[in-house]
């Protein structure tokens, strides 16, 4: 599978609107190999079984994404915590110094 094949599959896909096609044509060059392969599989759905398989695969990817998002939120909170701690320390030291404590 290569990008031209994927582009062709997008352009020839009967269920996609012209707007959707234009959106995908813009995105495809920057998609990872894994996502490109997944998209190609999705575009080639022939049977109900294929569709269910793709739905499962998508759920698994969405679950991974959810975890990554959660991780990002934690990192943001941790950074905030760290900044606050450092700030508290600095201000406290300054307070002690100012008051000769």
């Amino acid at each position: 599978m290569n990008k031209p094949d994927l582009l062709k599959a997008i352009k020839n896909h009967p269920q996609l609107s012209p707007e959707q096609k234009a959106w995908w044509i813009e995105k495809i060059p920057n998609l990872s190999q894994g996502l490109q392969e997944f998209l190609m599989e999705v575009l080639s759905i022939q049977t109900k079984e294929d569709q269910e398989k793709m739905q499962q695969k998508l759920s698994s990817m969405q679950s991974d994404l959810k975890n990554s998002w959660q991780k990002l939120q934690n990192e943001l909170a941790n950074l905030y915590q760290k900044v606050e701690n450092e700030s508290q320390n600095a201000e406290f030291q300054s307070f002690l110094k100012q008051n000769d404590l």
């Binding site: 269920q15 096609k21 998508l58 909170a77 950074l79």
Partner: protein, 474 residues
């Protein structure tokens, strides 16, 4: 900072949160997102919360170390990537959800078999019981116009002529009797049912020509606006400049090249303008003659070989009349030519077993191929079944009535079928036969059987052969 130190009664310093509502752990932070849509991975609310927190943190660490700033920037990049991934997965989900493989195949089948369909784009409706229905024809054209607009939109996603050509060639030539592909094309341009494949393909070709014409006109307009010679031509050609230049560029002789060179430079010499007939075709007319006229004139657009006298149209069986209407609608210039025609007009009324034979010559093997496929698909002709039956008879076995009935049971409709001539692929042998005359049809074909048997191994000329033939023509 919003964090203020307070000192109570000389004891120890105590720090409290003021005006800051940020949770102190990731877990607490995550709880804030409980209100989001459970089906969404990253909701709009998630993004809003992230942005809020990001802004506050950004403001907070402005005076802090660059390490924190870098970390924050890193988190923002991660967020952008995750959001993008989420958008992509959402779009993929749409594709998966919209795919209805089994249901759609079924509904197409039902639509194929059903006489009544909601689509007005059904050529059969124009001729209910062989009579022209003006209102149905108007609705047909109206719906066709809408579908064409959609197809235009579709073609607009292609960057250049080569892509459009490839799209059409792929769609048209890779059908190989595969109804799924045909349905894909029809769905693509909004048809709910292929009632007349020849018309659909003709429509696609006309749209491709329209595209080519629009692009050429744009080039000429640019030439007239931006080049000295073009500006000069425009002064005395006025509003007709584009049309006149186009005609001149199509004219035989050196004038065309001189004009191309002056208007577009060396690049202009490569502009293909040798499709005059195509480009001058009225793009709005899909059916060459109005159906009413075709119905009245019978053989309106069709040319018979000199040694064949056209039979009395009104006396032809209805099936043949309908076939001629169809041939009229797909005819281009003087093609297809009717080279041989043995009508069943008499036998139909008198004999149980009868058939008509036509030999048609098309302009190109591709046209012959499309016609052959169209006839066989329309009639759901089982080519493989026919081949095995033919082999059976050729081997001299089972020529009994029972075997004919058995083959009928196996679904061997013999109403119409078309075979391309292997020696001359632009020629098609067309057989019309009533349903009970399969054996008679086969026997009648025995004279040609050997060459036809050969055809079955390759069934139809392959794409390479078509290309060769086309390039020879060029």
């Amino acid at each position: 900072m919003n964090l203020k130190p307070y000192y109570f009664e000389g004891a120890k310093a105590e720090f409290i949160w003021k005006n800051v509502e940020i949770p102190q752990s990731g877990e607490e932070l995550a709880k804030l997102n409980d209100d989001k849509d459970k089906n969404e991975v990253i909701s709009a609310n998630d993004l809003k919360n992230f942005e809020k927190k990001y802004q506050k943190l950004d403001a907070a660490i402005k005076t802090e170390s660059t390490e924190h700033l870098n970390k924050l920037k890193d988190l923002q990049d991660k967020k952008d990537k995750l959001t993008e991934a989420d958008n992509i997965l959402k779009e993929i989900k749409k594709i998966i959800d919209s795919a209805e493989p089994e249901e759609s195949a079924q509904s197409e089948k039902t639509s194929e078999n059903s006489e009544n369909t909601d689509s007005k784009l059904n050529y059969d409706l124009v001729y209910p019981n062989g009579k022209f229905d003006k209102k149905a024809y108007q609705e047909f054209l109206k719906e066709l116009k809408t579908k064409n607009l959609n197809l235009h939109k579709e073609l607009d996603t292609y960057d250049n002529d080569a892509d459009i050509k490839e799209y059409l060639v792929v769609k048209i030539s890779e059908q190989n009797n595969n109804i799924t592909n045909l349905n894909s094309i029809s769905v693509l341009i909004g048809y709910t049912k292929i009632s007349d494949k020849g018309e659909l393909l003709l429509n696609l070709r006309i749209l491709a020509n329209q595209k080519a014409e629009e692009k050429l006109e744009q080039k000429i307009l640019n030439g007239l606006d931006n080049h000295g010679v073009g500006k000069l031509l425009k002064t005395f050609m006025g509003d007709n400049a584009v049309r006149l230049v186009k005609d001149l560029m199509n004219a035989p002789g050196p004038m065309a090249n001189v004009l191309k060179f002056f208007l577009f430079g060396f690049e202009g010499l490569g502009i293909k303008t040798d499709q005059k007939t195509k480009l001058n075709k009225d793009p709005k007319i899909v059916i060459k003659k109005p159906p009413a006229e075709i119905a009245n004139m019978g053989y309106a657009n069709l040319a018979f070989a000199e040694d064949i006298k056209a039979p009395e149209y009104e006396q032809l069986p209805q099936a043949e009349q309908k076939l001629f209407q169809y041939l009229n609608s797909i005819s281009k210039d003087t093609y297809p030519k009717i080279k041989e025609f043995n009508s069943a007009e008499i036998e139909y009324s008198k004999a149980e077993n009868c058939q008509s034979n036509l030999v048609l010559e098309f302009a190109t093997p591709k046209d012959a191929y499309l016609f052959t496929e169209s006839i066989n698909v329309q009639e759901k002709f089982d080519l493989k079944g026919f081949q095995s039956k033919l082999n059976e008879i050729q081997d001299g076995a089972n020529k009994t009535e029972n075997s004919t009935k058995a083959s009928d049971k196996n679904g061997l409709p013999a109403y119409r079928f078309a075979l391309m001539d292997k020696e001359k692929p632009s020629v098609v042998n067309l057989v019309l036969s009533n349903s009970s005359s399969m054996e008679s049809s086969l026997n009648a074909l025995m004279g040609k059987a050997q060459s036809m048997k050969d055809q079955f191994s390759g069934v139809l000329p392959q794409k390479e052969e078509l290309k060769k033939e086309e390039s020879k023509k060029d």
